[in-house]
């Protein structure tokens, strides 16, 4: 009988923290909604339309943009959105 082969773990051996989504708000009236443009072409076209729709439903809209779509949003920007908004919508576009 052959010995079992032991191999070392090639992964980071880290378990990502699980965070649940916030509960869905019952309505938009009075909420502050962040619209995050990842800076892809025409993302603003999509977000402009969303802003119109959200505003007519009573939400206040704040606009944000990543410096470049190729890199994760800077931590300061994420913090700004988290502290200023009740919810955020991120636009991927081309």
């Amino acid at each position: 009988m052959t010995e079992p082969l032991t191999v070392l773990d090639p992964t980071a051996e880290a378990t990502p923290g699980q965070r649940s989504l916030n509960p869905r708000p019952p309505g938009l009236d009075g909420l502050t909604i962040g619209l995050l443009d990842i800076s892809k072409p025409r993302g603003d076209v999509f977000l402009d339309r969303l802003e119109e729709q959200l505003t007519t439903q009573g939400a206040m809209v704040r606009r944000y943009a990543k410096p470049t779509f190729t890199k994760p949003a800077p931590v300061d920007l994420r913090h700004e959105i988290a502290t200023q908004c009740d919810a955020v919508i991120e636009a991927l576009a081309d």
């Binding site: 082969l5 070392l8 090639p10 980071a12 190729t70 890199k71």
Partner: protein
Amino acid sequence: MYDRGWSDGLPLVPPTRERVLRMLEGTSRSGDEVVALMPPNLVDCTVEKVAVNSVMAGCLPEYLPVVLASLEAICTDDFNMHGVLATTMGVGPVLVVNGPIATRIGMNSGVNVLGHGNRANATIGRAVQLVVRNVGGGAPGGVDRATHGSMSKLGFCFAEDEAGSPWTTLAEDRGFDRSQDVVTAFCGEGPRILVDQKSRSAESLVRMLAEGLLASVSPRTVMGMDGLLVLSPEHMARFGDAGWDRPRFMEEIGKLLVVETDGILAGAGGIEEGLPEGLSGLTLPKFRPGGLLVVHAGGPAGLFSAIIGGWLNGPMGSEPTSREIIR
């Protein structure tokens, strides 16, 4: 190992304790030293984790310093491995090795240099990608969203033919000494061969190369994407015979790598892709200053060179990044 998601699709060498310990003998660095903050999960990656993945990739211990330096190069804000991994474009780190280490560890800079058949070339690039996959957590279908992908995502590493070149090396061009061991990471796709079997003069060949390079990535991209040109020995001989050194070549090809924007505006020629109307009437360079990298490699026979198209460059995308290889 395959079922655990550790493989790139090819068989792996089991990373037993003995093999990993032997791999660690390839570097003077401590196993618990952190090499880089590995994207996309942004976790500390130790020398030992790199060694484990290097065993799996099939590396010999003497390759480990090249793998470590490559990871240091790509895990920078400049190179932006996170974006390179995540983009829908089929690009990955193309690793060019300069310096005495290339010969010492048996890297290929000659026949079939961008292909198969050399253990160091094949496994160094593969090890780098396995680290991104296993330590960083970046796998196809997850953060890796490439539409087609390319061989540069499996592992793309080669050495420059320095001994056979009349020019300074890529590393020298980037500020290093010829005696230093250096790896340069370029974000690129797979190679495309450019044929010119008729040019007998430097003046003719440089025009042909420029014509091919103008289509790199797309004939309608200007300045936003870099390029890597791999000159074959027979093509290089045209320039060497004419007495052109690297600066002269770059000057001459730079004059030819220009685009009249009117021909590549959105809508021009019935093609909706293109530059905005506001850029009409301009003459722009195909590549930004420093955006064309040139290396010498390939077999002794064959009147071809290879073009490796890049990706979004500079602070908005990826910057070619060099690191000294430390044993």
